[in-house]
Amino acid sequence: MKMKIGIIACSGENLIGGTLSRAAARIVVEKLRSNNTIILCQPLFAAGGLERHGGQEERNFAKEHPTITIEGCEEECSKIGVERYSGPAAATIRVDEIMKAHPELIPKSREDLGENGMKLAEIIADIIAKKVDELYTSV
């Protein structure tokens, strides 16, 4: 059996890129590549002293499986988290760059993406799915 690929989204609450990254990650894991991906919880990577709280599983998963990070902004918090605790990310997708490439699709707000925002999330999800396929055939 082939191994699963981890998807970890920045999930930041304070910006539209965080909402888009979260929506796109869910679309990939629930619909587009549900059989070969698994969603990882970003805060679990980073939580200080998680070992004390029993939350080491996410970090271990990313050590042993290719993991794609989805970044809402240039801070790249997910990538930094994965690299700090698990090793190099297999790929990184920058949502802000995809937003720039689609100026016709402006999300409504960080709280509610609206119709255009969801279309953009679908586009981001397709890009992630293609990356999953590339990684899946190479492992």
């Binding site: 989204a9 920045c10 999930s11 930041g12 609450e13 304070n14 910006l15 965080g18 979260r22 929506a23 990650a25 869910r26 679309i27 969603i39 919880c41 970003q42 805060p43 679990l44 980073a46 939580a47 200080g48 002293g49 998680l50 709280h53 029993g54 939350g55 801070e75 918090c77 997910s78 930094i80 988290g81 960080r110 709280e111």
Partner: protein
């Protein structure tokens, strides 16, 4: 001197609906019920240790909202800021309102999830006011 405020930091979890309740709650508090008194910040940025974010949180009050017993928001903030002024668990509001079973859907969230979030937001906003009152008395 700038007006003091309360930062609302939800856990950012995207694996289960309990994280979504935290996020929806934070949006209702910051955008509506305590607009101008409460603000959001990205948990991943706190964990990353972005200087201006850390400084702002140290100078103001903080409420953590968590969706599971790992308490990523609370633990991450304690690790990076060294204090949390109040904390909430979204699972508590679910237990208090057993007739409102949250729908499993994360994007979009369901009606029961929205109603639970509003109920929790009403509790959080009371705490926001208490904390700001304490802050006034202390200065």
């Amino acid at each position: 001197m700038s007006k003091k405020k309360v930062y609302i930091i939800p856990c950012s979890g995207i694996g289960k609906v309990f994280g979504s309740i935290g996020r929806e709650t934070a949006y209702i508090v910051a955008n509506e019920l305590a607009k101008g008194k409460a603000e959001l910040e990205c948990l991943p940025l706190i964990v990353k240790g972005k200087k201006e974010v850390i400084k702002a949180l140290k100078e103001n009050k903080i409420i953590a909202i968590d969706g599971c017993p790992l308490m990523c928001s609370y633990n991450n903030i304690m690790e990076k800021i060294g204090k949390v002024d109040a904390k909430f668990m979204t699972t508590d509001i679910v237990k208090e309102n057993r007739e409102l079973k949250p729908e499993p859907s994360i994007i979009p969230v369901g009606e029961n999830t929205k109603e639970l979030s509003r109920k929790l937001a009403e509790q959080v906003v009371k705490k926001v006011d208490e904390l700001l009152e304490e802050k006034k008395e202390a200065t």
